[in-house]
Symmetry: C2
Subunit: 215 residues, 2 copies
DNA sequence: TGATGTGAAGCGGTTCACAGCC
DNA sequence: GGCTGTGAACCGCTTCACATCA
C-alpha cells in the first residue's frame, strides 16, 4: 500500500519500532516476526504489520522481517538518513538543558544555535553552542541550515516567536510553552505541555483510588 | 452525568479549559458560553459542553458558565485545591532544569527533592532543593510527603527507578526516559518521549511537502 | 431567545481473523 | 507450517443536531 495519509499516531509508533529494532540489532538478532516484537515490547502484532504495510511490503511471509533491512527502511521513512539542525529559542533553564539533551546527540539531531532576547545572554555559550539575538534568527537559521526549532520561552512570547521562525521558513517546531498556538497548516507543530501532563496526574491522584473495583 | 470512566483525553482538555478560564478571569469576564470559549481558543463547543457535563451541570441555559465558579470546579476536579510535592529522579541536565521549571511553581506543584545515584552530587543543592541518594527514596518521600515523581534518568535505569518509587507507594509518575515502561495499573504513568516527538517532526520534513494539493 | 446537556450519527484508529504467499 | 498483508468488525472519541430549560 502506498502512503496516502499517515496519522501522527502511526509515525510515533514508527519511531518506537525503530527503537525496538535497534535493541534487537544490538543483540545480534537477524530476523524477527511481528508477534515476537509485540510480545517483547508490549505492542499489538496486527498493528505493527499494518503500520509497516503503509510504507511498503517489508516482510517475508513465513519468516518475518529482516532486522537490519527494516531498520534502514525506518530510518529512511523517518527522515533520519540526513542530519537535522536544531535551534532552541529561549536560553533559560529548559532551553539550556535541552541543548545538550542526550536524545539530540544520540540520533541525527544536533543543536546548532540558541536564541534569546535578553541582551546579557547574547554571545555567551552553552557548551559549544552560541546564544544569538532572536532578532537575527532568519539570518543565522539560513547560515546554519536550521530545519527544526524548539520553543522554550514563556507562554506570552510563544506565538510571536512561532511566527518569527515560520516566517523565516521553518517547517517543524516543537513547543514547550503552555499556550495554544496557531500555525500554518504547512508547518508541523508539536506541543509538549508539561502543565497539562502534571494536572492530568493530579486528576488521577484526586480520584477515589478505586483500589479493587473497576480498573 | 456522574463520572464513570473519564478518558485521559478529557482530563487533558479539562486542564486546557482551566487555562482558558484563567485568561478570561484575568480580563474580568464574568460569564462565558461554550461557543465563546470555542471560538476564542479554537476548540469545539459541543466537546466543551460534553466534557464539563461529565462532571456536573455547571452551566446555565441561556446564559453560559460563570467563569469564577467554573474555575473553582475545575481546580477541584483536577485536584489542584491541594498542594502536590514533586520529587525528580536524576539530577542531570534535564532533572535540574525541571527543578525550577516555571510550570511547577505556577500551579500547585512544588519540587521538594532531587535524587541521584552519583555520590558526588548527593548533598548538593539546586536552588533550594537538595539532592538525595536514590537509595533513601522511600524514607525521604515519606518525610516530605512526595506524591508525584518525575523520572529524568537514562533509559536503561528507568524501569528499575520506576519500580523503586512505586514500591515506595508513589501513584503518579511522569517519565522522560525514552523507554517502554511496565507499571501497575493502579499507578498513573505519563511518558513524554522527546525522541519520538523529534522523529515525528523529522518524518514530516521528509515528506514531499504537498504544498498545494491535498490536506 | 439563547445556551446547555445529550442521544445519535459520524469518523478514525485498533483489533480480529483469515486469505495469500514463502 | 509460519507469518505477512489486509478487509471487516469493533470500539471509542468527536461532532452534530435538537429537545430542554432559564
Amino acid at each position: 500500500m502506498k502512503s496516502d495519509k499517515i496519522s501522527e499516531l502511526t509515525t510515533n509508533r514508527m519511531s518506537i519500532y525503530l527503537r525496538c529494532l535497534n535493541e534487537l540489532a544490538d543483540e545480534g538478532i537477524r530476523t524477527v516476526s511481528s508477534e515476537k516484537i509485540a510480545k517483547r515490547f508490549h505492542l499489538n502484532s496486527a498493528q505493527i504489520r499494518k503500520d509497516l504495510a503503509y510504507f511498503g511490503e517489508f516482510g517475508v511471509r513465513g519468516v518475518g522481517y529482516y532486522v537490519e533491512e527494516l531498520r534502514t527502511h525506518l530510518r529512511k521513512i523517518l527522515g533520519l538518513n540526513k542530519e537535522h539542525c536544531v535551534a532552541i529559542i529561549g536560553a533559560g533553564r529548559l532551553g539550556t538543558a535541552l541543548t545538550d539533551y542526550y536524545g539530540f546527540s544520540q540520533t541525527n539531531f544536533s543543536v546548532a544555535a540558541l536564541f534569546d532576547a535578553d541582551q546579557s545572554k547574547i554571545g555567551q555559550k552553552v557548551g559549544e553552542v552560541e546564544i544569538f539575538d532572536i532578532k537575527d534568527f532568519a539570518e543565522v537559521a539560513e547560515r546554519d541550515k536550521i530545519d527544526v526549532v524548539v520553543i522554550a520561552v514563556p507562554a506570552e512570547f510563544a506565538q510571536s516567536v512561532l511566527e518569527q521562525v515560520t516566517n523565516a521558513g521553518i517547517k517543524a517546531v516543537m513547543n514547550f510553552a503552555p499556550s495554544p498556538l496557531k500555525v500554518d497548516e504547512n508547518v508541523k507543530l508539536k506541543t509538549i505541555d508539561l502543565t497539562t501532563s502534571l494536572e492530568s496526574l493530579s486528576y488521577f491522584l484526586a480520584q477515589p483510588a478505586a483500589k479493587n473495583g473497576r480498573k
